[in-house]
Amino acid sequence: MSQAELTRIEKKLQELSPQLHQSFQAAAPALKSRLEESDLIAWAQDGLTIAGPTSRTWEAGWEYFLASPTVAQALTSSEFAAWAQWGKLLARESPTLACSFFKASIKVVSHLSPHDLGTWAQLGKSLYQGNWRSGTLACAFFDASDTLVPHTEMLVLDHFVQFLDKLAQKSPDLALSIVGAAGEVFHEVERPDQLHFLAVASALAETSPTDVKPYLRAGSKIIAKVAPQQRARFLTLAQRLALQSGSDTLPFIIDGSWALGEIAPDLHPLLLSLAERLMALAPGLAIAFLKNSPALISRLKLEDLDTWYQEGVRLYQTTPEAGLAFFKLESSHSEALLSHLSCRVELGQIVDTLQMYVTALTGKEVGVATTDSLVKKRVGWTAQDRPTTEGMSIFLPGFVERYETKKENFTWYKVASTHQSAHIEFASFEFDFLREALVFSNLRPELAKRAKKDGHVTDLERFFDLFSERKLAKDVFTTVEDARIDARVCHEYRGLRPAYQGVQRDSVQERPPFFRLTLREAFLEILTRIGLGSEEQFNVPPKVRPHLKWCRELLSQAQLPQATVEDAAEATIRLYAILLQVPNEIAPQEDWQTAPQPGESEAPPVQDFDDPHWFDMLQEGEGGQEEEPEPDQERPEVDYRGDFKPELVQLMMKMKLAEGQQGQKPGVPMTEEELRQLLEKTAELDITMDLSGDMSQISQLFAHNILEQMGMEKMTTSEDKAPPRPQGPDRTAGEPLQEEPQTFLYDEWDFRAGDYKPRWCRVRQKPMEEGTPDFYKRTLETYSGLVAQIKRQFELLAPEGVRKVRRLPDGEDYEMDAVIEAVADAKAGTTPSEKLYWQRKKVERDVAIAFLLDMSASTAEIITESKRGSSDPIPDNPRQYLAWLQGQRTGDERRYQRIIDVEKESIVLLIKALETMGDAYGIYGFSSYGRENVEFYTIKDIGESFSDRVKRRIDKVSPMHATRMGPAIRHATSKLAAQDAKTKILFLVSDGRPQDQGYSRDGVEKEYAIHDTKMALNEAKRKQITPFCLTVDKAGHGYLKTMCEDMGYEVVTEIESLPTRILNLYRRLAF
């Protein structure tokens, strides 16, 4: 019966499809050996059921038979039956689904327990909801199962399916695309984290489905940065965030895990618990806090972090906006507290003090800036965090956090800047080859006679050329010179000495061991340490002991207070000679440990400096032939001394100087190529760091930059100091370079937070471009009548007015009326008044005024046709008509006047008036695009005298971008504040309300901009400056009332009257 049954089934299969039958036959033998006969028939019967009633669905059966042998292998017969049961169930739902199920079964069966196999099937089935889309998803799930199952557990998979289901409701396509990629995710996310990881995805599916995919793709890699035990916590936090505000989640995860990655794992629990508490208050706080946590941790001790944190929470509870700004580090309060709590000292905070300090020490105008800014110029320096100087400025690291207290860190800054300024003060860079040394006898002239090379640009170059091993000579020289400078500082500045020596001692502690260096390098290292004041005895290998003694003596002579840089050079010659006698090899360890024998001679080898052989030896370099063993490590610079590049500095200074003398061309005529070769020779370029490429490419780059730098500075010096030459041929030659605008940072007032956003806007100040003086002339012609009137009016008001003050107790002479009264009083018996004198009192004008001109794009608005064009009727007389027409044509450009044109005309007339008065005045234009770019154009600076250049600049005033008034006002205020006048006025001329990108919330409401502007005006007022706003915006009353409150403002309705209006106002304000 059984066989017959099988035959019957086979026949049916054959009917359905021959292929189906074939697959049955292929599977049957394997199954026969595994199954009881009854089960075998059930199996075959199931296949038939699955293959279904119609010929269209036979593929499911086919897959079933294909899968069966493998599956049966892994399962008991009852389990196998259960599997088949699932297959039937699925096939009934959807044959396609069943196909996928069978196909996947082959791969997953070995990974799943029999029980889980059912669950798995159930999961797939649960995704199918009877329609085509869900069917595809369910199939995809089965298809992907082989990648999923091996890396996770059923529970997770269960959640995954729920998540898919949820996502599919939002976006079936998205869900579908994720299934395929999910395997990789499970592969990467460690098992304990998987559930939490999915929970975030699931929450995102609800609130921000579009973020799901990027999250899955990137999330696994990102969260690896969080300490393993803390990942669940971190993800829970992310999940909470995702439920509230989905779109913030991904940035949070990226920033947050990056931030945690920057921090030691043992701190993660603390930070996360703090973040959790913030999350309960507002997600934004937690996001900001976690993002900034590396900065916080690096600057604060843990207990201080708590203080800071509590303050933020307190602030949030009173003013949410302020709290948010606080945690974002976008509030002055938060920065102030941070810097108060932290022991770090930032250069920015003390740069002014240091700048004046070094200026005082050196007597030269020495700038102070971050080393970073020098490195960016790419002219030879690459180490970002070391102090250095290029002879004109001192460069220091951006912050110092070496010590526990602010005071000590500041002291380090002071020591480092003193060392650098001492290079300038004690003339390290003014080495003169021919100048005599004061301590040593002079060997240089003799050496120079024997020098083979000829021709040099700098004296140091000439000096180093004396030596065959240039690098060694340079190393010796810098070591000696640094030591000389330090000794000199300690001698000259006794108050600083304790701190200085303290820093020196710390530096000695940080020096690397020298045993592994070659003997020569070790010698240099020992000399460095002696220079740092180390009193160690330095037990060197016996054979070089006498040499060391010699070196010590030479160095101490170079450290005498009267020693000059030329002495350092002389010492260098002698030390170099000694070092040549020191073998350039690594001495065995035990040599370093042998103590000096009591009887051992420490007498230095006798050196006869008159011996000609000796000079020859110097220049031949007796050790020159040997292969130099590579030292294990480079000797690092002494941290507070930083980079000392005397030759490069001297070269740059010389180029600069020569230029100053000749004005136009670099006095040392040098091509880029020549400069490049010189640079390579100096052995002072750092070629490590971030630069790749070979030596010549790098020096090429530096050479190029140096030349460019010189060109640039040449431009600025000629701009600033020398008056512009009349149009000489050389002025037009060459490419004019865009002058680098000076930049200034200003805070911005956030009225919601009730606090400033620190350093929020960058004001770029630059002189206005120059056009032609035509506009100026034309305006004066147009308004010739008014101009004459202005002159008269203002001359009447001119300074040096003298007022007679009567009835004073003392004065120039008797006031006759008072005297007569007094006499009469006396006669009448009453007490006469004592105020009998009159006196002339000078009425002095002492006014400084700054005009701020709105150059926003809206000033391009056309306001009027020229009067001539519109008001004159067209003449009938042909002759007059021709003249009229001519007038129309020539006046064409004036026909359409823009707001800016009227502003410009006003300025021209103002200048006329102001020049008559002799008041100090400045005229500036501003425009902005975003907080990064507030352009501040100088048309005439307050200190600048009126010239043709000013006239030409007016011509170029034109509409630009937006109107961020706050920073422009603040910058003008700072200019006025520096003025020394009794009356200071800030006069703002605009055409509308302040607006700029990011100058309002969501670009809609204008309150923010108006409040910031108001605050800026208030700041001006606090500095005894009278602000005044004039607008041509007819709707101006509304916001000006808020913006100016108790300050003066005016709305000019008829824009043509602006010029006269401004003049009247000026008179009103300044008298």
Partner: protein
């Protein structure tokens, strides 16, 4: 009329009779002494230019003492430590309310009548004294013009109110001082005034000389005087970089005196140098750093 008398425990002099009894300490920096002597013998008025506290007044005191002439009729009444030889020095500090009456003289009410009182300039002219108008630019321009007839070959002082002209006595010479540093453009000296004087320019003394001055005036050891002179030099480097004027020798001497009194050097410099110089805290910090670098 008493010329000089002791009232209570202070000395009172008539302006034209104030003379210097002992040699004031003055360390010549260049040839200013010879030049002044020459100018005096030629009766050419002298303009002393220089920053505050660099020794202009001291120089003039020294010259007054040095130039003291043999006894004259007026002088004979005065007694002087130096064998009755002295040259009176009339100093007028100019201010912006200084009027011509303040210089020349005025009528005073006395009962029902008036009485004329000579002003300091008139007295100096009559007495043949050195008349020193300190900070001349501070005076009003109409006042400055008043001195013009005195400063050229005429050497006369018109007294308008009395309808008189006074010829200057032989020993009379006009000396004015002027600090070009801090005056604003408004307060520049008129050319017509400036061009009536020889000018001697003063600067702060070089370190070595200043050391000797501090040492002498402050009565301190050479080493300390040297450090103070060094400090002075460094702080003066800040002129135009935050400070309007460099620190004066006078202030350095004050610091020296304070240190001698037992005040700690850093503190002494703070009260004698940093705080008087500027109110700008930023600049104060920088000066403090220089002080702490130099003094322990």
């Amino acid at each position: 009329m008493t010329t000089e008398g002791i009232r209570g425990n202070y000395l009172e002099h008539m302006v034209e009779e104030y003379t210097l009894h002992t040699e004031p300490y003055y360390l010549p920096i260049a040839d200013e002494v010879e030049i002044f002597e020459a100018a005096y013998s030629l009766k050419i008025p002298v303009l002393l230019k220089g920053p505050t506290g660099c020794g202009k007044t001291r120089f003039l005191e020294y010259m007054a003492w040095r130039l003291a002439r043999p006894v004259t009729a007026i002088r004979s009444r005065a007694h002087s430590a130096k064998d009755g030889v002295s040259l009176p020095l009339v100093t007028v500090a100019c201010h912006e309310d200084l009027t011509s009456s303040d210089l020349v003289g005025r009528y005073l009410l006395e009962g029902d009548s008036t009485r004329w009182i000579d002003g300091p300039l008139t007295r100096a002219v009559k007495a043949g004294a050195i008349c020193y108008l300190d900070e001349i630019v501070e005076a009003r321009k109409d006042t400055t013009v008043l001195i013009h007839p005195l400063t050229d070959h005429r050497r006369i002082l018109p007294v308008e109110k009395k309808g008189q002209v006074i010829e200057a006595s032989d020993g009379f010479i006009l000396v004015v001082s002027y600090n070009p540093g801090y005056q604003s453009a408004m307060k520049d000296l008129k050319q017509s005034t400036r061009q009536r004087f020889l000018a001697i320019e003063f600067h702060y003394p070089p370190r070595e000389s200043e050391k000797r001055i501090i040492q002498h005036e402050g009565g301190v050891a050479e080493e300390l005087a040297w450090e103070l002179a060094k400090l002075g030099e460094k702080v003066r480097n800040l002129r135009e970089h935050g400070l309007r004027e460099g620190v004066s020798t006078r202030l350095l001497i004050y610091a020296a005196k304070l240190i001698k009194q037992g005040i700690a050097p850093r503190k002494a410099c703070q009260v004698a140098i940093t705080w008087p110089l500027t109110d700008d805290t930023e600049v104060q910090h920088s000066i403090e750093e220089v002080i702490t670098s130099i003094f322990e």
